[in-house]
């Protein structure tokens, strides 16, 4: 538990006591993690319980007659539509974010000082709680007939994620040595070639990080979807919420849809952890 980074000299002769301590350390950590993730694990277990077992009191921890029916039923009662709509809205808005954001990020990274007025103004858009503009968007969408359309929600999610995408990408591009561009310029490449053939391949990991984050935020967003769409577009969080509020919740199906909704994200999270730490270090190191 020391704050000091454990330095491990090559253990030539680890004593029995040291091994025991090491094992104990990991046992403590696994126990702590199980405790911490308890609410989510409970949801996971519930997803495999048949309806009859859902309302037992006191509840049984493991499903007695495990079933996969919740997943198939959950898909047909709204989970499938939710996943489909969320995929459409999240992926298209992310694509637009990257197309709009990458050139802007490059311009910011190379031609403006870091944390200057412009970068700050762009980033500060992200600090605004969504509840503040949502009423304005609602009135605007009624006027432009964008209410309850995919186009409308895609525009909103692009607006929501673009500032973050620009900021992340410009921080990333700043880390690329300028010598690549200078070499290309000396070879006589015009600026757009330099951009497409030199910078884009070099910043692929940054584009991936920004893209995944933007996907996750759009995938998880609820308030805009709640207010700006009706019966036509039903994203996953909205499907889950309506499911929950208008009927006696069938926790098994809810759990199944919920687990299906977060599963892909959890697989990504291992990769995300490294790049997240890296982008925080970049940001903080530059202050």
């Amino acid at each position: 538990m020391s704050p000091i980074p454990a330095s491990h000299p090559p253990a030539d002769r680890a004593s029995f006591g040291e091994i025991l301590r090491e094992v104990l350390k990991h046992v403590v950590m696994v126990a702590l993690l199980l405790l911490f993730l308890c609410p989510l694990l409970w949801l996971l277990l519930t997803a495999f319980k048949p309806y009859a077992e859902l309302f037992n009191s006191p509840p049984s921890v493991l499903p007695v007659n495990g079933t996969l029916a919740n997943f198939t039923e959950g898909w047909t009662v709204g989970g499938g539509k939710g996943i489909g709509d969320s995929l459409i809205v999240a992926s298209l808005s992310t694509a637009i974010c990257l197309v709009l954001g990458f050139p802007a990020a490059y311009a910011l990274a190379r031609r403006f000082p870091p944390h200057g007025q412009l970068s700050f103004t762009i980033l500060s858009l992200r600090m605004m709680p969504p509840i503040v503009p949502v009423i304005g968007f609602y009135l605007l969408f009624q006027e432009l007939s964008l209410f309850d359309t995919y186009t409308g929600l895609i525009i909103i999610y692009t607006f929501m994620n673009l500032p973050l995408v620009i900021w992340l990408l410009s921080e990333f591009i700043r880390q690329i040595p300028k010598s690549y561009e200078e070499a290309a310029r000396i070879d006589g490449a015009p600026w757009y070639r330099l951009f497409w053939d030199v910078l884009l391949p070099l910043s692929a990991p940054g584009v991936l990080t920004a893209g995944i984050l933007s996907m996750i935020f759009a995938w998880n967003e609820f308030l805009f979807a709640l207010v700006l769409t009706g019966e036509n577009v039903i994203t996953l969080p909205k499907a889950l919420a309506s499911f929950f509020l208008f009927q006696q919740p069938n926790w098994g199906q809810l759990g199944a849809i919920g687990i299906a909704a977060v599963g892909p994200l959890l697989i990504i999270s291992y990769y995300m952890q490294r790049s997240l730490i890296r982008s925080f270090s970049i940001e903080l190191g530059g202050r």
Partner: protein, 329 residues
């Protein structure tokens, strides 16, 4: 560049001319690169605010076919004189001022703990990060199930060890602490990862030097580690504080602002005014008020942070070279 020009003067002038041309070209390129994104962001932030302003100065009510009238500052007056506004403002602030410091404290503990693991640290860290990747809606109903009074597991366990469990989200005293608990569960991982990045950034030779000078673990922690983490804690605090004004989803799922109005923060109050009662004028005014509060709040916080950063004992030695490089571009 022309090589036929023999005199040095001619070379110089043609060089500067081509440089000027190149500069103009670069400027145009910058504009072309920035314009689409900036135009998009500008339009989408100005347009809704225009509608908000329009709504907030009129008696606009959706679904009621009375003619819309100009009411001046009437909506703002009715918001500011309404005790519900002040109670939702104080609930928002209380929520932030309880949840965020606890997140920093628990996050610091977790970061220190994880930093002590050389083997398995990455996998443990990514497992701790799970809650913050989840949709808040999913977090909300996981906890709703987890805390269910009849078939939820936590109450059974509490009863098992002889504690009579509270009514959690449905009791007026426990509803807000329940939401705080859920927010801490979801967002402590964020603080943890920021502080972990801070811990990893401390060079090992700092600890070696401290050890040579005879400082023990506690002293090293208080006099070296903690001060070096302060900038990271500040960033985590500011980001979490601003984000806690956005809390809406878990309230929607767990309490719907109730019981009564005991968990109605500014976000939920605005939603309720606009889409519960369709009083768009009042809701618009409330949105504008929040916009103003937040703008000044954020500016004040950032000014404070900046002043601290200017202190000579800043823990960011990398700042100077990078700023210099940036402004030379």
């Amino acid at each position: 560049m022309s090589t036929s020009a023999a005199t040095p003067n001619a070379v110089r002038s043609s060089r500067s001319a081509s440089q000027k041309r190149q500069q103009a070209q670069e400027k145009r390129a910058t504009l072309i690169l920035l314009a689409p994104a900036l135009l998009f962001l500008f339009l989408l932030s100005i347009w809704p605010v225009a509608y908000l302003l329009y709504a907030s100065f009129t008696s606009y009510q959706l679904a009621i076919p009375i003619p819309t009238e100009w009411v001046g500052l009437g909506n703002f007056e009715s918001i500011v004189t309404n005790p519900r506004f002040w109670s939702s403002l104080s609930i928002t602030l209380v929520f932030a001022l309880i949840a965020v410091p606890l997140q920093i404290l628990v996050g610091l503990g977790l970061a220190l703990l994880l930093n002590g693991y050389s083997r398995g640290r990455e996998i443990y860290t990514s497992l701790f990060l799970i809650p913050m990747m989840l949709a808040p809606i999913v977090v909300g109903f996981s906890w709703n199930l987890f805390l269910n009074p009849i078939y939820g597991p936590l109450n059974s366990v509490l009863r098992g060890v002889g504690i009579s469990p509270p009514a959690w989200a449905s009791s007026p005293e426990w509803a807000l602490p329940t939401l705080v608990l859920v927010d801490i569960w979801q967002w402590t991982p964020f603080v943890m990862i920021v502080l972990l990045a801070g811990l990893r950034s401390i060079p090992p030779r700092v600890f070696e030097a401290a050890k040579v000078d005879g400082s023990n673990r506690m002293q090293t922690f208080i006099h070296i580690v903690l001060p070096m983490l302060v900038p990271y804690m500040t960033v985590a605090f500011v980001l979490r504080f601003i984000d806690s004004f956005k809390v809406f989803d878990i309230i929607y799922i767990l309490t719907r602002g109730g019981p009564g109005t005991s968990t109605q923060n500014l976000a939920y109050y605005t939603y309720d005014l606009g889409f519960g009662r369709f009083e768009f004028g009042a809701a618009g005014a409330l949105s504008i008020i929040q916009l103003i509060l937040l703008t000044f709040g954020t500016m004040a916080i950032l000014a404070l942070v900046k002043r601290r950063d200017k202190a000579p004992a800043s823990a960011a030695p990398a700042a100077t070279p990078r700023l210099a490089e940036g402004s030379a571009a």
